[in-house]
Symmetry: C2
Subunit: 233 residues, 2 copies
Amino acid sequence: MSAQKVDYYASESKIYIATDCIIFGFDNESIKLLVFKRRVAPFEGEWSLIGSFVKNDESVNNAAKRVLREITGLENVFMKQLKVYGEVDRDPGSRCITVGQYALIRIEDQDKALVEKHGAVWHDLHELPDLVLDHNTMVKDALTQLRLRASYQPIGFELLPEKFTIPSLQKLYEEIYQIEFDARNFRKKIIALDVLTKLDEKDKSSSKKGAFLYKFNPTKYNKLLEAGINFKL
Amino acid sequence: MSAQKVDYYASESKIYIATDCIIFGFDNESIKLLVFKRRVAPFEGEWSLIGSFVKNDESVNNAAKRVLREITGLENVFMKQLKVYGEVDRDPGSRCITVGQYALIRIEDQDKALVEKHGAVWHDLHELPDLVLDHNTMVKDALTQLRLRASYQPIGFELLPEKFTIPSLQKLYEEIYQIEFDARNFRKKIIALDVLTKLDEKDKSSSKKGAFLYKFNPTKYNKLLEAGINFKL
DNA sequence: TCAAAAGTGTTACAAATACACCCATGT
DNA sequence: ACATGGGTGTATTTGTAACACTTTTGA
């Protein structure tokens, strides 16, 4: 006698549901997006976000985490739901609803071999190829969301390595907002947030003088995440 | 010879997908939520958000619009996706993923007979009954989202009747944020937004002196919606 | 010695906040 | 005549924006 679960909704119709990850990374130069060549028909071989169908025994969020782990080797990544793309004809392969989720990762943390094994490639945001389906729209939406979120949460830090310099943090925010900031005012504002710990080391990779490295104080950082900031730059 | 569409994803599993509407309304006193007694098993007869399964031939957003039209008679309502609730066991009735969508409506615009016919009831936010499944969480999430959004878009207006007074707008924002504002500063800030047209009429329903009615200038209002505001109060 | 990026302070302007009284009218 | 909510102005504080020079050091 097996425990057979009743399906109370048997008269309704089921639909394919997928999740697609908009994976942003930063390499101290520019923000990049991880894409690969689609491996299923239709559009096999074309550039695509990395996604997966949601399986019957996993949550939508876990499906996205699984995708990220499979491709980059990373866990515990900053990831947020973006939006549901649910138009009837968005996918000629079959009716399929997808949940866009954007992730922020430090490129240096990736499992490079794994990424390459999957044929995934970091593309500069300004030179994105045409992506399948509505994936270009998803990227655009994710960027809008990223900018908005960066204005009330210090998420920029999610994209930086553990130790970072103030000039590289500035470059990151300049990439996010696509405008330039005054270095003095930027520094003032960041330090006023009171989440950074200055280290004794310097990073000399981008100047002869070298810039002091900082890391952030996790306690204060988390407090700030909850409380929210008003990061008008 | 009928055109038969190929299903490229036939090896994947389909899942029930629904949408639930978190319908907020304002009656010049407090923000209210529209709920009804669930009409399907399991949990038939318990308080629930109003929702529906997404049908095979409609988009996710249109499903929510349909629900709203069926219950309130309203179209072209302000509605935004909130979040996907995709945990495996969230619904004992069967695996079912739902898209929460929150809507803002002017209570006076509703088709009252239709609302009553469906047994839907406006509940004060502070006296919400226990709702089925994860619906209480959805309401909480929607409120958080509403507050956030109100800080960069003038969405409060969506909840007001066509003609409204500044004190009632203030009451609305006080309800949204659950804090009180200085009437002089509030008025100053709202007028500085430059989206209101002052009318010659007064509303005397809440004072002997009466308060001037305003409506908003749709052109300027829409510009502001796009541009975004910084509505720190 | 010089090129290139890092680091530092002050002033002017704009915006947010705090605050108290008179007005109009229905009862 | 008085109680009730509507309406107005100013001073203070706070935050933002603009701006130029010195420091360090590898090549």
